[in-house]
Amino acid sequence: MSEYDSALPAFLDEAHELLAAMESILMDVQGQQPDSEQLNAMFRAMHTIKGSSGLFGLDAIVRFTHEAENVLDALRAGELSFDDELNTLLLRCHDHVKAMLQELDHPDVLASMAAPPLIDELKAYFRQQTSGDISPLAASATEAPAAAEQSWLISLRFGREVLADGMDPLSFVRYLAESGELGGLQTISTQLPGGDAFDPEQCYLRFELVYHSAMPLAKLNDVFEFVRESSQIHIFPLATAGRYLATVTQGQDEAEQQAVAAAWQQLGVVIEAEAEVVTEAAAVEAVAPLASNLQFAQAAKQASGAVARKTEHKETKTTETRFIKVEASKLDNLINLIGELVIAGAAANLIARRSGQSAQIESTATIATLIEQIRAGTLSMRMVQIGEIFSRFPRVVRDVSKELGKSIELHISGAETELDKSMVEKLGDPLMHIVRNAIDHGIESVETRLAAGKSATGNVWLNAYHESGSIVIEVADDGGGLRKDKIVAKAVANGLISADAMLSDNEIYKLIFEPGFSTAEQISNISGRGVGMDVVKRGLEALRGTIDIDSAVGEGTNFRIRLPLTLAIIDGFLVQIGKSTFVIPLEVVVECIEVPDDLKSDGTHSHLNLRGEVLPVLNLSEFLELGEPPGKRQNVVVVNYGESKAGLLVDNLLGEFQTVIKPLGQLFSHLRAISGSTILGSGEVALILDVPALIEFAKQKEVADFAGQTEQGRAQLH
C-alpha cells in the first residue's frame, strides 16, 4: 500500500492545481460565456480528478465529480448556456471537491459528501435549462436531447498488466452500472491458463456487455482512457454491433473467438455472417451515413470532437512538461552542496594565488565564476511568482463583499514578481488577513460611500514589486482610512499604552497589530475569526518582514509589506569585532563611518553627532560580552530599525557578502539578537545579527539597568 501512499500527494497536488485553474476561469468569466478552451480546461479538471479518484478508490469523489462533469460536458456541447447562476453553481462544485479532498483521511465524512444537495441543484438547473423550448437549431440534426438513452455493445479485453498497474477491470463495470444500466455481461476467461502457468497478478479477463445509457459516446470512450493503451476496448451501437465480431476477435485464438461469439449470442447480438474486419474509427464513421437516427449522428460528431480534444490535450501536455516538480528538500540539499562548493572554491583560489602560477590562478577564477552562476541558478529555482497567492484573492473578495453587501473591485498588479517558494506558502495567511481586514473595516458600506461623495464601488489594490533586494507587497483600499483617535482610545482602554503617550502616526497605526487590540465589538464574521491582526505581525516577522501603514481619513489605507526575497540567502555586511565575525543584513545598513576621536562612552551605550543628528551607538563587543579589547581603529555601522537609526560599534568592516543562511538549532532559539548563522569562505561560521531585535534588547537592558539603580536608590532611602 506504500505505492498508494506515495502516489497520493502527487494526486492531491494535481487535483489542487486543476481546481485552482477551474476557479480562476470561473472568476475570470464572471457569468460571461467561457470560450471553448476554458470550457475544456474546466471539463478536464473534473474529468481528471474523477479518473484519478477512481484509481484511489475514492468513490465519493468519483460520484460527485461525475455530476459536475456532466454539466460541463453539456455546456461544452452547447446544450446548456452559461450564466451567473451556473457560474456560482460551478464555483460551489469547485469548493465541494476541494472540501472532499480535505477529508481523505475520514472515509465516513467523505462518503457522506458524495451526493450533497448541490447535486440536486445542479440537476434541477440542468432540467430547467434543457427542458425549455428547444430552438429550431437545437432540434436539427446536429443536436439531440441530452437525456436520450441509447444502447451499446462494449467489448473489454484487458491487457495483462492492467491489475499490476493498479486498475481493476471490475471497477469499470461498477462505474458503468452506476452511470447507466447493464443489459447483460459475459465474462470470458479462455486466456486464463491452468496449472502453474497462472500468474495471479496478471489479468486474463475479457468482458462483453450490453449497456444502456444517456452517456455520449465521447464520454463513454473517456471512461476507458486509462486502460485504452494496454487493452483492446471496442464500443459499438448495439443495433449494428453484430457486424463487428471479426473486428473484436481479430488475431485471437479460436477458443476466445468462439467464446466471444457465444457471449454475443447470449447478449442478444445478431451476428452477421459476412462480417468483415473494420477498424473502430471506420466503424463509427460508417455509422453516421447508415443511420438515419439522430443519435448516431450526434455520436459521430462527438467522437470526432473527442479526437480534436485529444490533440488539444496533447498540446497542453507539452506546455505542462516545461515544468518539473522537484521535492523541496532535494533543492535544499543542492543549495547546501553548492554552498560548500563555494567554500572549497575559495580555498582553491587562495592556494592558487599563493602558488603564483598565473595559469592556475586563471583557471580557479573561471571555476569561481561558474560556481557563482550555478549558485545563482539554483537559488532562482526556488523562486515562484507571487501570483500563486494573489490568484486566490479575487474569489475571497467576491465572496466576502457579497456576504457584507458591499461592492468591491479588486485590482491586481505585479503578479509576476518572484519570491522564494517557502515564503509564498507562509505569506498566504497574513496577506489574507490584511485583505479581509481591508474589505471588512476599510471599505465603507455603499450608503456611507455615496454620502461621502465616493463611487459606490470600493477598490482594493494588490500590488507587488521588487525594490533593492526585497519584495514589497502593497494592499491598499480607498475606504475610510484609519482613525488615529479611535485607535489611541482603544489602545488606552485595552491598556496597551498610557493615556499621555506621545506616538508618531506610524506608531499609532502599528498598534492595530498588537495582541489584544482587536476587541469583541470589532469582531465580525469576516476578519475577526478569533485572531487579531497580531497574527499578521507575527507571521511577517517570522519571514523577516516589516510592515508599514499609510492612511488618510476618508481616503483609504495602504499596508506596505517588505520581505526578503528568500529565507535561504541573505545579502550581508561582514564586520569584525575582535576575533569574531558577524553578518549584518545589508538591507538595514545605511552607511559606515569611522569613529571620531571624541566618541563619548558610558558603558555599552554612547552617542555621536551624525551631521547634526544624535545617533545612539551600541558597543557590540561590550554588549555581546565578547570580552575582547577594542581594536585600534574602530568603525560605526549606521543601521535603520523601523523609522530610527542607530550606530553599531565594530572593529573592522569586511564588506558585502551574499550567503546561505544556516539555522542555529533549538539550543539557540531563545537568542533574540541573533537570527542565524552562515559559513564564510574560510569555512568559519559567522553569526547573523538581528538588528531590530538587538536594539530592542539593548533598550530593554538599559531600562532594566536604570530600574535596578532606582530600586537600589529606593532601598538606600528606606
Binding site: P169, L170, L182, T187, G194, F198, P200, E201, L205
Partner: protein, 96 residues
C-alpha cells in the same frame, strides 16, 4: 478430514500473490478434500475472481475434491454481476 482455508478481509491485487500461493500449496501439499470459506471476504477485485476461475479447474485436474462455502455479500454481488455465480457450485458442492 477436510483441509479448510478461510479467505478473510481484503482480497485484492495486494493479496493475490499470497492467496494464490496458499491455495497452490493446499492443492499440492495435502491429500484431504479442500474446503474454501469465503464468508469473511470484505473487499474484492478482479484478481480474486481470477483466482477462483483458476482454482476450480485446477482442483479438478489434480483430482482434489473442492467445495466452497457461502460467499460474503460483497463477493456474491461481484460474481453475480460477472455472471459467474455458478463457479461456486463446482463439483461436489454438497456443503451444508
Amino acid at each position: 478430514m477436510t483441509h479448510t482455508i478461510q479467505l478473510l478481509g481484503e482480497q485484492t491485487i495486494y493479496q493475490a500473490r499470497q492467496t494464490h500461493t496458499q491455495l497452490w500449496q493446499a492443492l499440492h501439499e495435502h491429500n484431504e478434500p479442500l474446503q474454501l470459506e469465503l464468508a469473511g471476504v470484505t473487499e474484492v477485485d478482479s484478481s480474486l475472481v481470477q483466482i477462483l476461475l483458476w482454482l476450480v479447474p485446477e482442483a479438478k485436474r489434480l483430482g482434489r475434491p473442492l467445495t466452497m462455502g457461502e460467499p460474503s455479500a460483497v463477493l456474491a454481488e461481484v460474481l453475480a454481476v460477472l455472471g459467474l455465480s455458478a463457479i461456486l457450485q463446482s463439483e461436489g458442492a454438497g456443503h451444508e
